[in-house]
Symmetry: C2
């Protein structure tokens, strides 16, 4: 596996792959790899000849009171994990090369970005779409793989790729969970031992909601949201950012449950650690 830090070099390498008719799969990440990342890397490897994983903690997508400065990192370990997952290139640009002092451009998606995480984290998705647009132009992938845990992010990325006609297939990959049900996330490393029970409230609430739907097909959306809230609030460490059941494409609130309905949850544990999770409510 090769490690590349220069945007100019990665673009040259990508153009070289393309000149040789090799397909490129990109997995954009912020590092501190877990098995969720590994699953994305392997999926990219199944779908493309060459796998590029970008590792860049993107300042544009963090708010002023968020965890940019403390975001976990473990570069040596990440290199080993990526290499073991069959990654060809780990691309780790530095902040100065990504954003010059004169940098002045934003890719912005309206609508999909206004509620949910966009409501709690103003400017977050502008930062995501802008950096992902840059990474696409730097690495020139045929496909790019994103985790479904960041469900709204995936929808926003699909939208700007479609709107701006990027010649890239966007692949969503299902959430990878710990044995206890916790959705894998680099931010789980913030959890202290005695916070784990509270953190499990998200996956517990999701299982509970799916059971409700299974037992009572015509249950009102507001009933489910209310009962999920009750489940979460059993844990005093837990405050709710949002609980919403939305259509998977439009992210608009559902009026009734269907196979397109997604339950999206965001909570804070001890006002310190923001966790998100989601699931379809029917099937599987």
């Amino acid at each position: 596996m090769k490690v590349i830090t220069s945007p100019v070099e990665i673009q040259t390498v990508a153009q070289d792959f393309r000149a040789k008719q090799l397909t490129i799969g990109l997995v954009p990440t912020m590092g501190f790899f877990h098995n969720g990342h590994v699953a994305l890397m392997k999926e990219a490897g199944r779908r493309a000849d060459k796998v590029i994983v970008s590792l860049f903690v993107n300042p544009l997508q963090f708010g002023p009171s968020e965890d940019f400065d403390t975001y976990p990192h473990a570069f040596e370990k990440d290199c080993q994990i990526a290499e073991d997952a069959g990654v060809d290139i780990l691309y780790t640009p530095n902040k100065k090369d990504m954003y010059s002092e004169e940098f002045a451009t934003t890719i912005q998606v309206k609508g999909l970005t206004s509620g949910l995480c966009g409501g709690d984290r103003p400017g977050h998705f502008d930062g995501v779409t802008t950096v992902v647009g840059k990474l696409f132009n730097q690495t020139l992938p045929h496909i790019a793989v994103f985790g479904e845990k960041d469900f709204q992010q995936l929808a926003v990325i699909r939208q700007f790729v479609r709107d701006l006609d990027f010649p890239i297939s966007i692949i969503g990959y299902p959430i990878v969970r710990e044995a206890n049900g916790l959705a894998m996330s680099s931010r789980n490393s913030y959890l202290k031992k005695d916070e784990m029970d509270a953190a499990l409230c998200l996956s517990t609430a999701i299982r509970y909601a799916k059971n409700l739907v299974r037992k009572q097909q015509n249950i009102a959306v507001s009933d489910i949201e209310k009962k999920v809230a009750d489940t979460l609030l059993k844990h005093s460490e837990c405050t709710i950012d949002y609980i919403q059941i939305v259509h998977q494409n439009t992210l608009q609130n559902c009026t009734q449950i269907s196979s397109d309905s997604i339950l999206l949850i965001a909570v804070k544990i001890n006002n310190r650690i923001r966790l998100i999770d989601n699931s379809k409510l029917t099937g599987g």
Copy 2:
């Protein structure tokens, strides 16, 4: 010359050119071709194996009180001109295929877009950068050629291409003028016979400003701007949108004249026809 209307088809054709190691030159236009366009097409032909000219009157870059509905068009004649100029593909997408009902994405450049034409035409440059980003992804050019008449537009395009790392060389091409000095523009077709004298005030004022600088190297910027204004206002048909002498890269006002200084002028003739022109003030 082939005429293509489908974004999907042009992207396939562009990918096919690239697979054959052929370079692509793009000239984005709004049609109603004149010799200025022809010069851009021929420049693209000198620099790339295949020339794609896009012809799309982009609604996003017109304000509500502007001339979108009356913008001149002459498709048959445009086809002939493009073919004669050696263009390989004339790409004329329709509005519905460019902007679906769900379209929600903007590419926005801050700073460079705030004054000059951006001040007079709010949202104009967002429309330009967004459509040019789309055209880039649809036609996958190695180089793209733009006229220097739209000087601010060219600076804004260079900025977003650099910021978003599009792997495309942006080529600026000098203003092409009529024998009488008038900068060529599709909007010149709006001019009635008795408005031509007034329209010539821009190129006359530019020649006058260059003479001033030649004669008096340390002349104050404000003096030149004042004298240019006097020249323009000799024509009662003429109102001034702006007269500014700026640095060619930053578009910030110059404090003194140098080889980087550009005089930018925008006027309205009879409050109906907006014309722009520009020139360096030293050399040539």
